[in-house]
Symmetry: C2
Subunit: 150 residues, 2 copies
């Protein structure tokens, strides 16, 4: 289990990433793994944005996790840069393997490298296992996360 690599996603990773997004109680309702066209277009836009870091975790050549880290400059908190972690997914074969910890550790370290003073994320209120995981990691559930579809 020592050959884990966390690296920037390439276009070749799109099918594996989408499969992981869809293999999820919430994701199953909102992804289209049979048509990758919208994902390919979105990937191009991500790849051109230096503040976006879409990564995959690979083990023995297999893609086993994905995550998106966004670096957001801002004026508040004395001009603090913050990062936002989105779209964390772990392959079902790897759940409980410690991969989540390795991925979030990577995200925190990368956020420090990018000069961030704060790292934040939102987690669906129904994902209580994920909440415990983030709290154990040192995150504080200090905020409510509001969303609105357009």
């Amino acid at each position: 289990m020592s050959d884990l690599e966390i690296r920037p996603a390439t276009a070749e990773d799109i099918p594996a990433i989408v499969a992981m997004l869809a293999d999820d109680a919430l994701g199953a309702q909102r992804e289209s793994p049979d048509d990758l066209t919208p994902y390919t277009a979105a990937f191009q836009r991500l790849a051109q944005d230096p503040n976006q870091h879409l990564v995959v975790a690979a083990r023995g050549g297999r893609t086993v996790g994905t995550m998106q880290l966004t670096v957001i400059p801002g004026l508040s908190r004395m001009g603090a840069i913050r990062s936002i972690i989105e779209a964390v997914r772990i392959h079902s074969d790897e759940r409980g393997s410690g991969l989540g910890t390795e991925m979030i550790t990577w995200a925190v370290e990368e956020s420090r490298r990018q000069g961030c003073a704060l790292v934040q994320l939102t987690s669906d209120a129904t994902r209580t296992d994920a909440h415990r995981f983030y709290e154990r990691f040192g995150f504080e559930a200090s905020h409510l996360g509001f969303k609105m579809g357009l």
Copy 2:
């Protein structure tokens, strides 16, 4: 009250923005309105990023509100673009004037113009008035917001 303008912030707006960030129960503890150096540096970085929209609301030439809208592409939800609203502040003279509604309406309309399928924000768990405001607006408090200082 009809001469409200919501427009991109300029460097000249920095002192007024920082004063609003600091004039807040939470912000008072973490801003430095007497030293604008870190804010000026942060403003330059924001100004160079086409996915960042730092705006001010001005009425009769006075800066009365500020808000940051970030456009975030992504693979999840079929390649949905989302926007994140951060650092919403209303001048104390304007609270209750409906300015918050006008600003969030602008943010939602701008998010649509940018092709976003989703607009989201986090609000400190202690800001219960803000929560009611966002829920009335149509946002759903579907998530927990986790933060960790680095």
